[in-house]
């Protein structure tokens, strides 16, 4: 019984590692090799639009609401200690260090990651990838690479937008509605937010999350069983796996950056 369980555990670990290795090779294959700017640039711009710009709306709306909720919740606690002047740093630090990168990554996995997996899975199922290969065009270079770079470029930018809108949302609730002093909202924020410790670390996080989410989405699409059921399963797996991996890495990165 126990040995059987152990065997299964071992087997699934090996399968997972093998998958990881395959996708590592895949990603590597997509990224090395001399880039071709004449052909690569239009492809990248198109993907930046599809992956980045089209995710903007959901990021704006979510950022605004998360900022407003943060201010509301923060205010009720701070006001008990007469420290409502610290609302600015509370909102800004929560967003810069945690919520900006993490929530953006989760939304991104749901919005762009799932779409990427479905798109590539369908291309595989309809033999478009095979067809491309037979035309001596490498699908890794042509399909995978522009999507990867577009994701890695756009997600940190989206996280910045998310954070900025969140801070404005906090201002809207804290200052315009609850009556915190507007000057102190900004000045305490300026005094308490450190460029390197908070802003740069937040950016590093979101770059790491971007690589994770995009990598998983592309790998799941490329590895999907080429049937409608296989594609729907791969899409779900992208969202679940990417979200959990992001949360796991967030803990590790937070411990490394702010733990000591």
């Amino acid at each position: 019984m126990i040995t059987e369980k152990l065997q299964n555990l071992g087997r699934s670990t090996i399968d997972n590692l093998a998958g990881f290795g395959r996708s590592g090779v895949m990603l590597f294959g997509a990224l090395v090799g001399k880039p071709n700017f004449r052909k690569g640039w239009p492809l990248l711009v198109k993907q930046l639009y599809v992956i980045g710009v089209l995710s903007l709306l959901i990021i704006l709306v979510s950022g605004l609401f998360i900022g407003m909720v943060l201010a509301l919740q923060g205010y009720t606690v701070l006001v008990k200690f007469g420290a409502e002047g610290m609302l600015g740093p509370l909102v800004a630090l929560s967003l810069l260090r945690e919520l900006g990168p993490v929530v953006t990554a989760l939304l991104f996995a749901g919005r762009a990651g799932s779409a990427l997996t479905a798109e590539i899975g369908l291309m595989k199922a309809t033999e478009q990838l095979s067809g491309m290969e037979m035309m001596a065009v490498d699908p890794l270079r042509r399909i995978i690479a522009p999507r990867f770079w577009a994701g890695v470029i756009s997600m940190p930018l989206l996280a910045m937008v998310f954070t900025a809108v969140g801070i404005l949302g906090g201002h809207l609730i804290g200052v315009n509605w609850l009556g915190v002093d507007g000057g102190s909202y900004w000045s305490t924020m300026q005094a308490n937010v450190d460029l390197y410790q908070d802003v740069v670390n937040g950016l590093i996080k979101s770059v790491v999350f971007a690589v994770i989410v995009i990598w998983i989405a592309l790998h799941k699409g490329f590895d999907a069983v080429p049937t409608s059921e296989g594609i729907s399963r791969a899409t779900t797996q992208t969202v679940v796996t990417a979200s959990l991996t992001v949360l796991g890495f967030d803990f590790i990165l937070t411990a490394l950056m702010f733990g000591g």
């Binding site: 052909k39 369908l122 291309m123 309809t126 033999e127 478009q128 095979s130 067809g131 491309m132 290969e133 037979m134 035309m135 001596a136 065009v137 490498d138």
Partner: protein
């Protein structure tokens, strides 16, 4: 330059436990139309993918223009693929591009021709398959037969040395069927390309092929010019050419005895 374009020697290939080819050999002559016929599910598409290097055989050699395809490095394989082209059974058009862009795709990828020149080439290719008027449609707006013809235009866009047609006639009405039959023959004669045609349509294939291979039961069961095949005494060959359901070639996928399964429905 040898006379043989594709030389398959002692090929064995299996999908998991399912052995598809067992020590099979065949030759495709340069400049000729070679047809491969065989029952559905016998592995004809698989064979084309083996020639294209998308699958690796477990044994044997596949020589394309003298190069052993399975042994090539990735870069050399891509180089070799520039000389071949394949019409997929499903068409495999790129769904996010218009018909025009689909046909222009290989030209834009592999040449540095100006857009005006590309425009001329693409329109010529579309005209030859009767789809010049459909250039701005998206693949989703085409019928199955039209999609196949658009894919055909894309396959011949760069005038490759070898074209592999996987079921080019399926889903075509008699008129476009006739057009495609003539197109394959003309391309072959005028441009001197080599063609491999996989098909079940015995009459059409026999009318254009210079040489025919009949594949069944993991190997070649008969080959020769269409004339030679018609004279062939083998029961297998005659059954396939005349289209009789159950003879020497089984029509059914291998299964347990019918009576047994009906009497004992759940297992």
């Amino acid at each position: 330059m040898s006379d043989i374009m594709v030389d398959i020697q002692h090929l064995s290939f299996s999908r998991g436990k399912n052995l598809i080819y067992d020590d099979m050999s065949m030759q495709v002559r340069r400049g000729k139309v070679t047809a491969i016929m065989g029952p559905s599910g016998i592995g004809k598409t698989t064979l084309l993918k083996l020639i294209g290097g998308q699958l690796k055989p477990s044994q044997g050699h596949i020589l394309f223009d003298g190069q052993d395809i399975p042994a090539l490095s990735r870069a050399d394989l891509y180089q070799a693929r520039k000389k071949m082209s394949m019409l997929f059974q499903s068409g495999a058009l790129f769904t996010e591009m218009s018909v025009f862009d689909n046909v222009a795709f290989p030209i834009r990828e592999h040449t540095r021709l100006s857009e005006s020149l590309i425009n001329i080439i693409v329109l010529m290719k579309l005209e030859s398959v009767g789809l010049r008027g459909a250039r701005d449609l998206m693949p989703a707006e085409l019928s199955g037969g039209m999609a196949r013809r658009a894919a055909l235009a894309r396959a011949i866009a760069l005038d490759p040395e070898l074209i592999m047609y996987d079921e080019p006639f399926a889903g075509q009405d008699p008129i476009s069927m006739g057009v495609i039959v003539r197109l394959i023959k003309e391309l072959n004669n005028a441009l001197g390309l080599t063609s491999i045609v996989v098909s079940h349509d015995v009459t059409e294939v026999m009318s254009i092929a210079d040489y025919v291979y009949l594949v069944a039961e993991k190997k070649v069961i008969g080959h020769g010019t269409p004339e030679q095949l018609r004279q062939d005494k083998s029961a297998l060959v005659q059954q396939f050419l005349l289209g009789e359901a159950d003879g020497a070639v089984p029509f059914h996928y291998k299964a347990a005895a019918y009576e047994d399964e009906l009497m004992e429905p759940r297992r």
